[in-house]
């Protein structure tokens, strides 16, 4: 557990939870990122302004951190473009079919004690752990 960073994880997690509560108390909306983004892509959705503003706020953070001298490192992703594309497609299609992602189900949903969200979180955790086990320890070696 050499990489365990409990203090920054707790501070960051508390901020994520605080943001979800503020968004609900102020605007009545759920801070589920897949739903917010999908609503921005959907031509039939009419309430795009708050979605755009929320995501713009998120994307501004690494920019501001960069100005303050704590620029964010580029994420390390799989070397294969095919794997990146398949992963993105699965995340996009799966979060829509399953009505949510890590934020919407894992934090907002479990925070409301929703049985749907608890079930969804267990399922995506299990398939994610299984996928990493297979790619790193079975085929990846």
């Amino acid at each position: 557990m050499a990489n365990f960073t409990p203090v920054s994880a707790a501070i960051g997690g508390a901020l994520i939870g605080l943001s979800a509560v503020l968004l609900m108390v102020l605007t009545g909306r759920i801070a589920g990122i897949s739903g917010i983004f999908a609503g921005l892509l959907n031509v039939r959705s009419e309430d795009k302004a708050w979605r755009f503003a929320f995501l713009a706020g998120m994307m501004l953070v690494p920019v501001i951190a960069g100005w303050l001298g704590h620029g964010m490192a580029s994420p390390s992703l799989p070397a294969s473009w095919t794997v990146i594309a398949v992963a993105g497609l699965l995340v996009g299609f799966g979060t829509r079919l399953g009505s949510g992602c890590t934020s919407g189900h894992g934090i907002c949903g479990i925070g409301r004690l929703s049985m749907r969200s608890i079930a969804a979180t267990v399922v995506f955790m299990v398939t994610a752990v299984a996928t990493v086990a297979i790619t790193r320890h079975v085929v990846g070696g």
């Binding site: 990489n3 994880a9 901020l15 939870g17 943001s19 998120m58 994420p75 992963a87 799966g94």
Partner: protein, 156 residues
């Protein structure tokens, strides 16, 4: 007030959310995969992030429910669906496979666009395509009511 409700409040919430993801390290796929890799050098940080987020969100949502409505808008948009159905389980399962392949879920992926990394741009483009694909497919099919038995939904 309209401007505050539609732009300023969500923008500030997005900033706080983004700070949380950045400070916790969850914007980095290596950190997320370190948690998901239970057979390797396991890093429990993601569990601490979720626990801390829930410690703030659960009492916060309870307090929110005691108000008749949100401060800046007419009504709460609480999710209405209840019950565990086949699309929920199948969708969550597919999402988990994609998350495990790249170590990115929608929040960190979108925040990471700020780095202009070509890999992240490709991931987000594919994610958007998957969402549009799903939403168009769902609209072209007859609406399935929530109270129908799972078997009917799966047969569709």
């Amino acid at each position: 007030m309209e401007m505050v409700a539609r732009i300023i409040a969500p923008l500030l919430c997005g900033l706080v959310f983004g700070m949380g993801l950045l400070i916790s390290g969850m914007v980095q796929p290596t950190k997320v995969l370190g948690f998901l890799d239970v057979l390797g050098a396991w890093d429990p940080s993601l569990a601490v992030v979720m626990a801390a987020a829930l410690a703030a969100a659960a009492p916060g949502f309870l307090l929110a429910r005691r108000r008749a409505g949100p401060v800046l808008a007419g009504q709460y948009f609480w999710p209405e669906k209840s019950g565990i159905d086949a699309p929920l389980v199948l969708g969550a399962g597919l999402f988990g496979v994609g998350w495990g392949l790249a170590g990115l879920c929608p929040g960190p992926a979108l925040e990471s666009l700020a780095t202009l990394s070509p890999g992240v741009i490709a991931f987000v483009a594919a994610m958007a395509a998957g969402m549009v694909l799903h939403d168009n497919w769902r609209v072209s099919r007859p609406v399935v009511r929530h109270d129908e038995p799972i078997a009917r939904v799966a047969d569709g």
